[in-house]
């Protein structure tokens, strides 16, 4: 964007004036983009709040405790607990699987793999991020679900006593656990890409200092790389979590949704906000659409809270991580 006139013969004077104009333009562009973003966010929030208000005033059930979702019935009844639980549970499963694996991949690429392998491997991981979610959904429905039977029954048999892995209903494993695994695969490239870049920026001096003190490679990673990269890992995870919370079509294709609230994650059932909106929107009437907007607002708020929490954590970590050394 900035106009850097190459080798202007007029000398210094002209170049500075040029760059002043450029600075001004760029500053205004940047400021405009910032303002535009805030305006858009406010407009989305305002629109959702307005429509939600319309929906909630019609609701005959309790928005926070009703399990059913029937906003177009003569007596509209709808509520979000099933969706809140489903969204959070599936996202937590996804993060529990994806974050450790992503850190492992990132460390492999940045510190273990020979350069020859690391580069194409990194490209490959990035490529995963470019696969459309409907493709993940179809892969999940047609391949992953039929192949989850073994793991599901193993978990049920040996970990069934934990309640959450207790499978109480027979049927195909189109459940929140499978959705969590699918989401883990979907968020993996995002988390990997960001953490990898952070690990690459660990000051060489720190690493060499650790090695010079007699640390093995793993000890070096533990003492120099991971503490430095922690804020990066957290913000990468938050990016991934954002996608997991909002994933729509892949969940809609894989999950056997129902309005039953259950923490038996191996039982088919449950639902997520985005999936519910995708499924109900097409046939929804006025009241149904407003109700879906209300659920969208809740998802919006949850995402904001999660991001806010992440910012807080990063801000606190900065003080004593190696980043400021």
């Amino acid at each position: 964007m900035t106009s850097s006139s190459p080798a202007a013969p007029q000398g210094r004077e002209r170049r500075t004036r040029d760059s002043r104009v450029g600075d001004k333009i760029f500053m205004n562009l940047a400021r405009g983009s910032g303002i535009l973003l805030l305006v858009i966010m406010a407009a989305i929030a305002g629109f959702l709040a307005w429509r939600s208000g319309l929906a909630l005033s019609n609701n005959q059930g309790n928005f926070l405790t009703t399990f059913e979702w029937a906003p177009d019935a003569p007596k509209p009844v709808f509520g979000i607990p099933v969706l809140v639980v489903g969204t959070i549970v599936s996202a937590v499963i996804a993060m529990a699987i994806a974050v450790p694996v992503a850190i492992g991949i990132a460390l492999f690429i940045s510190h273990y793999a020979p350069r020859r392998i690391a580069q194409p491997f990194a490209y490959l991981v990035d490529l995963l991020a470019a696969v459309p979610s409907i493709v993940y959904g179809l892969w999940g429905a047609l391949f992953l679900v039929p192949h989850m039977d073994g793991l599901t029954s193993w978990l049920n048999e040996y970990l069934g006593w934990t309640y959450i892995f207790d499978q109480t209903k027979s049927g195909t494993p189109r459940n929140l656990f499978t959705v969590g695994i699918l989401l883990a695969i979907m968020v993996l490239p995002i988390i990997t890409a960001v953490t990898r870049e952070v690990f690459r920026q660990v000051p060489r001096m720190h690493e060499e200092a650790a090695l010079a003190l007699g640390a093995t490679r793993w000890e070096m990673i533990r003492t120099a790389v991971l503490p430095f990269g922690r804020p990066g890992i957290i913000s990468a995870s938050m990016l991934g979590l954002g996608r997991a919370l909002g994933e729509t079509i892949a969940v809609a294709v894989v999950l056997s949704s129902s309005n039953v609230l259950s923490l038996h994650i191996l039982d088919a059932g449950g639902g997520t906000f985005a999936q519910n909106i995708a499924l109900k929107f097409a046939e929804a009437g006025d009241s149904g659409r407003n109700a879906l907007m209300a659920s969208g607002l809740v998802l919006f708020v949850i995402t904001l809270l999660v991001n806010g929490a992440a910012r807080l954590i990063i801000a606190r970590r900065k003080e004593y991580s190696g980043a400021n050394a």
């Binding site: 490209y123 991020a129 049927g171 195909t172 996608r243 729509t248 088919a268 499924l279």
Partner: protein, 378 residues
């Protein structure tokens, strides 16, 4: 792959954008097979050409039910093939959204799986100056109870038994209630995997209407587009549940005939109280349509289907999809095209073309009535 270099975070943002619903914007009128000299075997289009009265050329915009999407596609291709200069754009956005767009004046007609509600008719008066919206039955359908049970080739169910299966009151295939209807069949001692639609759907609406009317109280929920029962598993879309039935042993679900046919699924016959169980065939559904009463007044031809019919060879689990138009006050510039298109769809050729795609051609008793209404549209 713009992932590398400058735009990493941008690419991440793109990844987070989710596709809410895919509108099928089929290209309009690309097959300009004027004169229809193509082989006569294909989907009745060959016989259709001479019968089509094109009317004034123009373009029609319509939206609504996905259930009649395939029929509209065929009609559109045949009609705009025979009438160059006319394009029809139908968006399968769902019945509810279709009616909504119609009442906002955005489309010339809407496709709907259920007849207009009084409130929707009232709302239409703002768009139909001097008139109101009416329902014209245009394509019939039947819902098959499709099953996949090892060793069972034909299955007979009745409404109460089917309702109890879908409500998880009957959970085993060798339940006495099922065995009583299927003497001699080798029913396995296996759990029934029942599948329903997870999205709101006109198919669910019609199935539950049928249960409410014919299941003698075995179905305790009100009929609605949203699945109300607690048990069973769900899948998205007719194609989704059909795929599950195909994939999962000992399963049962409900889909429209076309989906049962394309997925090679077996359909249960229904014991209606007639002398022998009624198979899920188009001919048997047409028998039910022929006896349906008109519940609309004036030129509104909304049907009242007799779900509890005990007539011989009348398959009770049927649905009819309507085109919603104004009786008076249609947009003047597209009125002629609209009449011509609707005239074609209800013609024998139009009904046959839809029939080849898994719909149920409406019987002559009904098409005559629709044919009488179309010229009166204004």
């Amino acid at each position: 792959m713009k992932l590398q270099r400058n735009g990493r975070s941008k690419a991440l943002a793109i990844g987070a954008v989710a596709l809410v619903s895919s509108l099928s914007l089929a290209a309009c009128g690309s097959d300009n097979n004027n004169g229809n000299t193509t082989a006569s075997g294909s989907s009745g289009s060959a016989s259709a050409a001479p019968a089509i009265n094109c009317g004034k050329s123009g373009s029609l915009i319509a939206a609504g039910s996905t259930a009649q999407g395939t029929a509209i596609d065929v009609w559109k291709t045949n009609f705009s093939g025979a009438c160059s200069g006319t394009t029809i754009n139908y968006q399968g956005v769902g019945s509810g959204a279709g009616i909504q767009q119609f009442n906002q004046g955005k489309v010339q007609f809407a496709g709907s799986d259920s007849a207009l509600k009084p409130a929707e008719v009232d709302a239409s008066k703002a768009v139909c100056t001097g008139g109101q919206a009416i329902d014209l039955p245009m394509a019939g359908g039947l819902i098959s109870l499709v099953f996949n049970v090892e060793g069972v080739d034909s299955l007979v169910l009745d409404a109460p038994t089917a309702a109890k299966i879908f409500d998880s009151q009957i959970t085993k295939w060798n339940d006495p209630a099922i065995a009583a209807l299927n003497p001699g069949a080798k029913l396995p001692d296996a759990d029934i995997q029942s599948f329903h639609r997870s999205d709101d759907s006109g198919t669910t609406d019609n199935l539950t209407k049928y249960f409410a009317a014919a299941a003698n109280g075995a179905w305790t929920y009100p009929s609605s587009k949203t699945w109300a029962a607690k048990g069973g598993q769900s899948a998205t879309g007719s194609a989704g549940v059909a795929a599950q039935v195909k994939q999962v042993k000992n399963s049962i679900s409900y889909v429209e005939l076309a989906f049962a046919q394309t997925n090679n699924l077996k359909s249960a016959a229904i014991n209606t109280g007639a002398s022998k169980p009624v198979e899920a065939t188009a001919a048997n559904a047409a028998t039910t349509f022929a006896k349906a009463a008109i519940s609309g007044t004036g030129s509104d031809l909304a049907l009242k289907l007799d779900y509890a019919t005990k007539d011989e060879g009348a398959y009770p689990l049927v649905l009819v999809t309507y085109e919603i138009v104004c009786d008076k006050g249609n947009k003047a510039e597209t009125l002629d095209t609209l009449k011509a298109f609707l005239g074609y769809t209800i013609s024998d050729a139009g009904q046959k073309a839809a029939g080849d795609k898994g719909y149920v051609p409406l019987p002559k008793e009904l098409t005559d009535k629709v044919n009488a209404v179309i010229p009166t549209l204004a």
